[in-house]
Assembly symmetry: C2
Homo-oligomer: 354 residues x 2
């Protein structure tokens, strides 16, 4: 493997000194970029794009051609694991992801299994290997997975949901079944992320998109507990270098202390928490990634720059901050505004690293 | 006016002793009740139902016929004020509320005005008067309004939104315009709630449904600041009795201290915060309303009862707790489960009021 030319992102995750604050954007390979839309049209369906290593690599690298980003993130979907378990993932226009075989009964839960990362999920590992090779050491590659709870929401609901009727119904009335589902899913995520690390991912992020829909008690019992199992089971060093783990629970600002206790290296923050408060609460234990409101990118470049300055000032001096949006970049954002954001982070952060 | 036979709700809001914990449900007059659906079908459109004082009264009282609830809440919509400002409210099937004339430009903002509560909005006051008369002192009547920020989201977006592109675009780039819009809206809400109090509302709640989509700084500047103006301008005593004010920001669990500083009487809590923590943080200052996950009502009556017990135990001994869901009751809930919930609150709470 070629030597890493820009390791700011990995250094900041481990709280090692950096020259400027590293920055990347969740969903940076996405529909706001015309070149992404062109490749997506060429690929066929969204899953066709995920399953084609060359095209997945192409879209992963597209934002790096435009912007001086400090990390690349594997282009894939969070629902690859349940799809590999046989749930039959489809993307319906306007409806989002749909599973033909949702998990509703005890029999359904008993049928779940840990997919082979180099079997049903080999297309993901092939994408990781291709991207890592094509990156050629330019920046580190981030691997990722959905959290067990977040996957469970889709697996039980059979798609997106507004009211969580089915998944919470199972959680409340059949906690034994829900725990069994989550156990299998947590093992699957662990094996999946470890395979990504073996294939070349240099850091991993767990996306707990729906953890914030739970009560504090249920969050700990049904989401955090399984993220803990994953953190405990991950490869944490590869080729003589640490492989940092980032936990991101959207809406999890109230539970940062508990998340930091898992032994992860960093927490992703959405924009509803002040990063200065977050640092005061857990910043001696973990690095922090975030947390500009993605809607700020609808504002003028001057206003975006001002917001970047406020967040940098909030975090304050020293390493341990990876700049990001508080959630994925929206599809209707002007790519120029994303560029203004990324440049502002590098330009305005140097003074905090003297 | 006839004397109030059950004043538990008002007493708990003012932290006066009660025999059992009072309970009501946000959206208790709603689609989960077959009798509501029947009246709704008879009325015509949703706004036809809101504008017909007799039918609005009928649906307001329906849940009280089924359950021993401790309060009634005016049946109306949160978007009556912008509709009265001339924005042209419609409800599209499957799409939710839509404004024909959204507020996008400086000229649009300049056209906004404070509607006359006994003019354009008289249908709401007629409903309040009718309901209060028909309640005949059975339980108190709650009046309500959306918060200025929440109304602004709909007014600028022209309907529901996932990414807040337009409203946050205005907020970031033209804060002067956004403040002007919010000033007029806050004055309108104050006058609207005061008219509801004059017409017979015995407590009022401000629904800040979208405050939780803001950063902590923006929440204080664009949402809380205007709720403060409203609290300052409300009639707080009527017919020799205090008129309590409840603030409810969905997703506002991180900002309870600031909300309690406004001088309101109670805070509504969603389910993502532990009520024991909330009481420790602000319970000497305000009463607390909440906070069972509405999805718990999909579970069995036994499981619902267990959850009620946990929340009662979390709040602990003494007054100052009004039991509620953490958000509106979902439309697919079994009405029997709602009944199990309400009975459990009364049955299990007596021991905390000895």
């Amino acid at each position: 493997m070629s030597e890493l030319k820009n390791d700011r992102f990995l250094r900041a995750l481990l709280k090692e000194p950096v020259d400027v604050t590293p920055v990347w954007m969740m969903r940076q390979a996405g529909r706001y970029l015309p070149e992404y839309k062109a490749t997506r049209a060429q690929a066929g369906s969204f899953m066709d794009l995920c399953k084609n290593a060359e095209l997945a690599c192409e879209v992963t690298l597209q934002p790096l051609e435009r912007y001086p980003l400090d990390a690349a993130i594997l282009f894939s979907d969070i629902l690859t694991i349940p799809d590999a378990m046989g749930l039959g993932l489809r993307f319906e226009a306007g409806e989002g992801p749909v599973f033909d075989n949702p998990v509703r009964s005890e029999a359904d839960v008993n049928k779940l299994f840990v997919p082979d990362p180099e079997g049903e999920l080999q297309y993901v590992m092939n994408a990781v290997r291709t991207i890592r090779r094509e990156l050629n050491g330019r920046v580190p590659l981030i691997g990722f997975s959905g959290s067990p709870w977040t996957l469970a929401v889709y697996m039980v609901e059979g798609g997106g949901t507004k009211d969580y009727a089915k998944v919470k119904g199972m959680m409340f009335d059949r906690p034994d079944l829900m725990h069994k589902l989550l156990e299998t899913t947590a093992k699957s995520v662990t094996s999946y992320l470890n395979a990504q690390i073996e294939a070349g991912a240099q850091a991993v992020q767990i996306f707990d998109t729906w953890g914030g829909c739970l009560t504090p008690r249920d969050y700990k019992e049904f989401s955090l507990r399984y993220m803990q199992q994953i953190v405990d089971g991950l490869i944490r060093e590869k080729d003589g270098r640490k492989v940092p783990v980032i936990l991101f629970t959207k809406g999890g600002g109230q539970w940062l202390e508990a998340m930091a206790e898992t032994g992860c290296d960093a927490l992703g923050l959405d924009w509803t928490i002040d990063i200065a408060d977050a640092r005061a609460r857990v910043g001696d234990k973990v690095a922090l990634q975030g947390n500009m409101d993605p809607s700020t990118l609808y504002a003028s470049p001057e206003r975006i720059r001002q917001e970047v300055a406020t967040i940098l000032e909030g975090y304050g001096n020293g390493t341990g901050h990876i700049f990001n949006l508080g959630h994925g970049i929206h599809q209707h954002v002007d790519p120029e505004h994303a560029g203004a954001f990324i440049n502002a982070v590098h330009e305005l952060s140097a003074k905090y690293h003297k």
